[in-house]
Symmetry: C3
Subunit: 263 residues, 3 copies
């Protein structure tokens, strides 16, 4: 009944995810492997970290989350396993686990060094199959966490772009563009709590602005609106359209939340 | 052992489907979530409805089918749950369930209004995760259907383009183009029963025609043929090729089945 | 607890894979269906055969592997089921199973002819759903293999391009390009065993060469390197880049392993 989630940049065209699931199935037959996404842009650690951060907490306690966005595979970065009060995490020490671990708070982190847990012949190109999948399977099957390897003295954090307070409001940025062209920002939705809609406005690149609304339908089709999104942050959308391409929004683009008297 | 299927326009690049599966896994640990497709074009209700219609009946009795193509999320459209003799259905009241419900015949339909069934904080952008996944999980775990909410006085149908009878045969249209470039039509395969192949012919846009055959290999490579497809309708294919782009076929394109004396 | 893997060219945009999983779920409720890939290029038998070959052995004993890349569906090619000491295999007799069967060694191969195992109305376009899924489900549920149908007197092999020995080393070719743009070759990694890195060099099209390294990080970012890949063959990569498009590598492109005195 245990659960293992998979977040990678392997895509779905090759057999790589399938091979990982084979290893999991062989070593933890009672575990269920569930995909978060495998379409992280190749090598984009931050994008993988964000996907994991936004989805991991919806899984049942005891779930082991595996994230493999690993451009340095075979190099010096160590493989890690971590444990919070509720979840397990497995992945390379390059930041891909960092946003989830930061959200979990207190975590024990160990380097994967126990050769009995990994495949007999570990290559230098596919630790997802050879290292991370078998360790996740072992943890899901009940392995004592301390068996993984020694405590990690340190591990790689991933800086999260905190919005900055200004006299006129908050300066933030786009952190992700989704399939619908919606631009997720780093501006927490709670920043607009207590203000009337007419008191807040979102300033986008190229001098554009949009109102804040409670849902996409708060504006006419084709118009932009910032809504409290499903991950706790404001997201910029165009009703029945694609906000990001039409408004020049991509990861890192500045987005400002202006708060003032009703206009 | 219960089963939940998922049909959405969420794509696989973001973590949205993963988050839905997390909610299902947490609330119905014994259920299996199976993807029908997540690559419905964003907001294309008809395409989602067709995918569900063509696949749902192959699942075991008791399966709960979730369809979320929901451009009006957060707006006034109510969330629905339905039950036929064999299956459960969950999704927004915008037509995405309609073709499957019509195929099932007699169905009980209720509005989802029981707050105990859904996530504590429901936003206005992601009812797949916050409303539909937990309700599907509850139904799969054995919830009494009447607990979902009050009976729906009415719900949104989706008109199906019925082919029209003419003296020369039947006028139909393309309803879907698949990955192989095959163009599925609304012309039931039974329309050609009892006729010899030489008596029937399919007329395509731009003045082209193709024969009807029993399988793709009925014509030479590169040639077009209409075959009885896997969903009960004639489909236009090009052997070892892509019919839709080469023949100008897309959803809505007219396709005529001419029936006459052998030529 | 049994396992069925699926390898097809159906893609994920249509409901075809979902329908196969419905049939499996209905007929083998205790089996788990796991995707290897569904994004084999339409009709590319060799690509499907390679994916199956590279992933199948990571699954637990008793797994039934289904591969459906079947441009001749509905034509004369028979449907096959095979059994090795460890695994079951199901698919059309066109070579898509051949590389895995060759790797397994001794196999029993039968033609699927038992009408009790397949769907009541089998069409000519979707044997994945109508024939292969139900037979795989039956085998996973414990069907006696001999019940499938008569022994196949012969079945279609798929020639594997063996590298050729020359005075200067080995002449091979690219067999697959993956999502990262890495070019997998048919040159077994063991060919470089016993040689110092300075003694071996890989010659690519257009007069280019690259060194052999133990991992991607063996070269500077942007530089090409041949590394022992995860499937037992040398693969050509560009560190933090896409080797195949930048180096003109695609399936069939010549790749030569030059072995000589240290330079």
């Amino acid at each position: 009944m245990s659960t293992i989630t998979l977040t990678t940049d392997f895509g779905l065209a090759d057999w790589y995810v399938g091979a990982m699931k084979g290893v999991i199935r062989a070593r933890a037959p009672a575990a269920q492997a569930i995909d978060l996404t495998h379409q992280v842009a190749p090598g984009n650690i931050r994008q993988g970290a964000l996907a994991l951060r936004c989805a991991y907490a919806y899984f049942p306690e005891g779930t082991v989350h595996v994230a493999v966005v690993d451009p340095g595979v075979g190099g010096p970065r160590p493989p890690l396993a971590a444990r919070s009060r509720r979840f397990g995490f497995v992945g390379p020490d390059n930041g891909v686990l960092a946003l989830a671990l930061a959200a979990e708070g207190e975590c024990a982190v160990r380097r994967i060094e126990n050769p009995a847990l990994i495949l007999p012949k570990v290559g230098n190109t596919f630790h997802g199959r050879d290292v991370f999948a078998p360790v996740a399977a072992a943890l899901a099957a009940g392995l004592d966490f301390a068996e993984v390897g020694p405590e990690a003295a340190d591990w790689t954090r991933l800086p999260w772009p905190e919005p900055r307070r200004w006299a006129w409001g908050w300066a933030g940025e786009v952190v992700h563009v989704d399939r619908f062209g919606n631009a997720l920002t780093n501006l927490p939705s709670r920043l607009i709590e207590g203000f009337a809609p007419a008191q807040v406005r979102v300033r986008l690149p190229r001098g554009r602005t949009c109102p804040v609304g409670s849902c996409y339908a708060a504006v006419a089709p084709g118009r932009a609106v910032a809504v409290p999104g499903s991950s706790g942050f404001l997201e910029v959308a165009v009703r029945d359209g694609q906000a990001a391409p039409s408004l020049g929004l991509r990861a890192g683009a500045p987005v400002r939340l202006a708060i003032g008297p009703a206009r």
